[in-house]
């Protein structure tokens, strides 16, 4: 059977989909690739010219790194693959400038980007509070990176899957309804003269229903279908993350085949 993706719900920051007919290995590699292999922009180097705020340079630099940046993967190269050889050029990095005086709360929208389309994904993230007479002047340089290197480059925050089981109730069932009582997720219901499955997607495979069934009449079988829940940070649209992750897996396989052909 062919692998299939069935999207259940989708919004800008969250997607839920079923990945059908794939091995656990592919589901897990897909998850890992979305988290750790899809590149995004994040602040990686900060020049402080003036900082008389209450926060140290290091703390501020770390806070700036955590801000998700709307990324256009077409515009930027990974720094190690760039023509500049990793030194940094407009093709692989972008600056955000800030020059503010207190009293003021500095939000992510206060930064001035070199490129009006590459901005912080959410514009009301508070960075720090400046008080009377304090000043902050800095240049934050963002570059592409992957979650493998640092979590600030991850395009997704939540990215998890679980197996969608197949719940089977055999003839031995005496309709005692113990399993309905025991299920913490409200998966089962009494449907006339048999036990029916109300919402299989909710099942957490806790196997509580099996434990309480004295007749051994209920079975929870694992299948090759997976329910994914993915939440975006805002750096990339979720569909781009999904497509890119699969493209990265594919390119790894293709690259290895190319190397093998050269060896042979």
């Amino acid at each position: 059977m062919k692998p299939k993706i069935e999207i259940l719900e989708e919004s800008d920051f969250k997607i839920r989909f079923i990945l059908k007919n794939v091995s656990p290995a592919l589901a897990n590699s897909f998850r890992r690739a979305m988290k750790a292999e899809v590149p995004t922009l994040a602040v990686d180097y900060v020049d402080f010219y003036v900082n008389s705020s209450y926060l140290y340079d290091e703390i501020l630099a770390h806070r700036l790194g955590m801000l998700p940046i709307k990324t256009d993967l077409e515009k930027f190269n990974m720094q190690n693959e760039c023509v500049c050889g990793g030194e940094g050029c407009p093709n692989c990095q972008i600056s955000f400038r800030l020059n503010v005086e207190g009293p003021k709360v500095v939000y992510s929208e206060d930064f001035i980007s070199d490129d009006p389309e590459i901005v912080f994904a959410i514009d009301n993230i508070p960075v720090l509070e400046l008080f009377e007479g304090q000043q902050l002047m800095l240049e934050a340089v963002a570059r592409l990176g992957t979650g493998r290197e640092h979590a600030k480059f991850q395009p997704v925050s939540v990215c998890a899957y679980k197996i969608i089981p197949e719940i089977e109730i055999t003839e031995d069932c005496t309709l005692c309804k113990d399993c309905i009582e025991a299920c913490p997720r409200d998966v089962l219901e009494a449907g006339g003269d048999k036990i029916a499955v109300k919402d299989v997607l909710n099942c957490s495979l806790c196997m509580e229903c099996i434990k309480v069934c004295e007749q051994n009449a209920i079975k929870v079988n694992e299948t090759n279908n997976f329910l994914f829940t993915v939440e975006a940070t805002g750096a990339l649209p979720l569909r781009v993350v999904m497509r890119k992750a699969l493209e990265i897996l594919r390119s790894k396989a293709e690259e290895m085949n190319k190397i093998i052909e050269e060896i042979q």
Binding site: L26, K252, A253, M256, N257, I263
Partner: protein, 86 residues
């Protein structure tokens, strides 16, 4: 990715794949084990920070590199069918 052959024979191969991790190798191992010509397919990451995973494949007589190529083609095919649907 950098592939180095440590040992090779008619029906086995031992490789080092520098720069890869569980993401790709577990997938490759799965598709290798699906193949009927494969007896052993196993990867090992000796040190998590160094990142030089070893891959060992033993077959029932087929060229091991050919078997790896076939597994990679299966990965490409699965990814392609999924990419089309997004």
């Amino acid at each position: 990715m950098e592939v180095k052959i440590v040992e090779i024979g008619d029906d086995f191969v031992k490789l080092v794949l520098r720069g890869e991790g569980h993401t790709y190798l577990n997938l490759l191992q799965h598709y290798l084990l699906e193949d009927e010509d494969v007896i052993v397919a196993r990867y090992n990451i000796p040190h998590p920070l160094v990142g030089e995973p070893h891959l060992y494949v033993r077959t029932k007589g087929k060229n091991p590199l050919e078997v790896i190529r076939r597994a990679n083609e299966k990965i490409v095919e699965a990814c392609n069918t999924l990419i089309e649907q997004i």
